[in-house]
């Protein structure tokens, strides 16, 4: 399938209006929106993620691209649901108890959606109960984010809570969090940034080797 260059570039530039216009036209003309999603929008968001990991772009540019992508997703989500678009899995994402900083978490949410996952956005200040509710709703992976050194320690409680449940994986991330810390508390994965977080999820769900 060919890439729609206009859509691809609109995501890179964060041009929300163009993204909406392309999807609206496709919907009006009864064209296959999956093709636009899979061959243009997701690759564009992946490219933004790679640029972010290489420090070529920063959070504002990522947020603008994510906003453009969300505008497209909002238009096509009802159609995807109708067509039984296959999800790669269900992931729950939230900031840990006591932490209200959600900018990183929001980037992970949009990147996961872009990669083809169903996402349960648990929001901020998530105690064990919220994680349990997300698992009850079908989450296979729970992701904990923290910005503060004082709140990141709650991640250990989440890891311990699911320690005896082999079907649930815990992935952590956030500015003060390191691979060393993730290893020390026994987390199943660590994402240095939103892009890497998605790659870890893809590995854990078997979407990539």
């Amino acid at each position: 399938m060919a890439r729609n260059e206009e859509l691809y570039n609109a995501i890179l530039k964060g041009d929300r209006n163009t993204v909406q216009s392309i999807f609206q036209t496709a919907i009006d003309e009864n064209r296959d929106v999956n093709e636009l999603l899979d061959f243009s929008m997701i690759p564009a968001m992946r490219e933004m993620g790679e640029r972010f990991s290489r420090n070529e772009i920063y959070v504002p540019e990522m947020l603008i691209a994510a906003r453009a992508m969300q505008a497209g997703l909002t238009l096509i989500e009802p159609i995807l649901a109708q067509n039984n678009h296959k999800s790669l899995g269900t992931i729950a994402v939230g900031t840990v108890k006591g932490d209200l900083h959600d900018i990183g978490k929001n980037l992970v949410v949009i990147m996961l959606k872009g990669a083809g996952y169903d996402v349960i956005d648990m929001g901020t200040n998530c105690g064990i109960e919220k994680y349990d509710n997300a698992v009850s709703a079908g989450a296979q992976i729970v992701m904990c984010s923290a910005l503060l050194t004082t709140t990141m320690t709650y991640m250990e409680q989440v890891v311990n809570h699911f320690k005896n449940n082999d079907t649930i994986k815990v992935v952590i991330g956030g500015a003060p969090v390191t691979q060393k810390y993730a290893d020390s508390i026994g987390a199943h994965g660590y994402g240095r940034d939103a892009n890497e977080a998605v790659k870890i999820v893809e590995k854990l769900t078997g979407a990539i080797a």
Binding site: G14, N55, I57, Y58, V59, P60, E61, L63, I64, R67, G98, L100, H101, D102, I103, N106, T149, T150, T151, M152, A175, P176, T178, K180, Y181, S184
Partner: protein
């Protein structure tokens, strides 16, 4: 005009083959006096006693108060939460850039908590030996904007509404200058500008939306012959030059775990700018042994041995439950190290 007493002091120590040692620590003092963070951030006497306890025990070269990013935002009337034993925080309240003009034009130097922090500064200046410099914290202009507008909206506005964001930054800078003058009048000798939210910007955006405003604050401090330190958490590798060009006399940088390479950073700043850092505050000093802390400090000091413009510190504020014996190991290792470069 730049005031850089810090660089002169660091060089003086270097000639004596020593280093200035100044960890960013306030919270462990509350543990020492058996108090909570909430009380420390609201009761100036408790706050002062916590910092005095740390200063008396460890005799650092600079004392810093409790790190608290809520002072200015709370003083202009933003909704603030005070958890029982955690730092004050601001839940997001809907705000947009068209509302900047209705933000209160009030004198925050009459705010009770701002006055409390000024009182702590005055008490420290009066009661702690003069050779220990008295530092204070103010919130950075971009970070205060993010506390008002929301971090995500502020980051988006960098691209989508730069004019509106500049209007908000003009406002936040005036508020911070107002508070800075109060702290200087109270005896502050070093003003440390906390700008964690700006670490997520590119270097050009950082310069436009943080550095240019920090220049105004550092110029104000220079008039009073007070040093300024720019503290940005996270990986600031791409921001070092912009930070150094903002007229400040010191850059306080986060730990190697965040991606900062301190020896590399020093080569990027002029000699009259000191680099302050960067032991990980939640690494070995929090969870390791005193021996491991000593090793980590020695390794850092050896890596910057050839540079006079360096002050040994932590990459960010030490958590309240940092073991006392590890802080002792940090201070001892810093004090005992001798420069071998000449």
């Amino acid at each position: 005009m730049k005031h850089s007493n810090l660089a002169s002091l660091a060089k003086e120590q270097y000639r004596l083959k020593k280093r200035l040692v100044a960890p960013l620590m306030g919270m462990p003092g509350l543990k020492m006096i058996n108090s909570t963070i909430k009380l420390g951030q609201q009761n100036f006497r408790i706050h002062y006693e916590a910092i005095k306890a740390l200063a008396d025990l460890y005799q650092p070269d600079i004392v810093f108060p409790l790190m608290d990013l809520s002072v200015e935002a709370n003083a202009i009337g933003r909704y603030t939460l005070f958890p029982l034993d955690d730092t004050a925080t601001l839940p997001h309240v809907t705000f947009n850039l068209s509302q900047v003009k209705i933000l209160p034009k009030i004198d925050i130097t009459a705010d009770t908590r701002a006055l409390g922090y000024a009182k702590v500064t005055a008490l420290l200046r009066r009661n702690i030996v003069s050779k220990i410099l008295k530092g204070v914290y103010v919130t950075g202009p971009y970070t205060l904007a993010a506390l008002i507008l929301g971090a995500e909206e502020t980051a988006r506005s960098v691209i989508l509404d730069s004019q509106g964001l500049h209007a908000l930054l003009d406002y936040t800078t005036k508020v911070i200058e107002n508070y800075t003058e109060l702290l200087i009048e109270s005896g502050a000798q070093i003003v440390c500008i906390l700008e964690p939210s700006a670490s997520m910007l590119s270097s050009s955006h950082f310069e436009e939306f943080s550095g240019n405003y920090v220049k105004q604050i550092s110029a104000l401090c220079a008039v009073h012959k007070v040093d300024t330190v720019y503290h940005v958490c996270g990986n600031t590798t791409h921001l070092i030059k912009s930070m150094a060009e903002s007229g400040v006399s010191g850059l306080s940088l986060d730990s190697p775990d965040s991606g900062v390479n301190l020896p590399q950073a020093i080569t990027e700043v002029p000699e009259d700018v000191v680099i302050i850092g960067n032991i990980n505050p939640v690494g070995k000093i929090l969870t390791g042994s005193p021996f491991e802390v000593k090793e980590e400090v020695n390794e850092l000091l050896e890596s910057v041995d050839q540079f006079p413009n360096f002050i040994l510190s932590t990459g960010c504020d030490l958590p309240k439950n940092t073991p006392i014996e590890n802080i002792e190991a940090f201070m001892k290792a810093g004090r005992e190290y001798r420069i071998s470069a000449f």
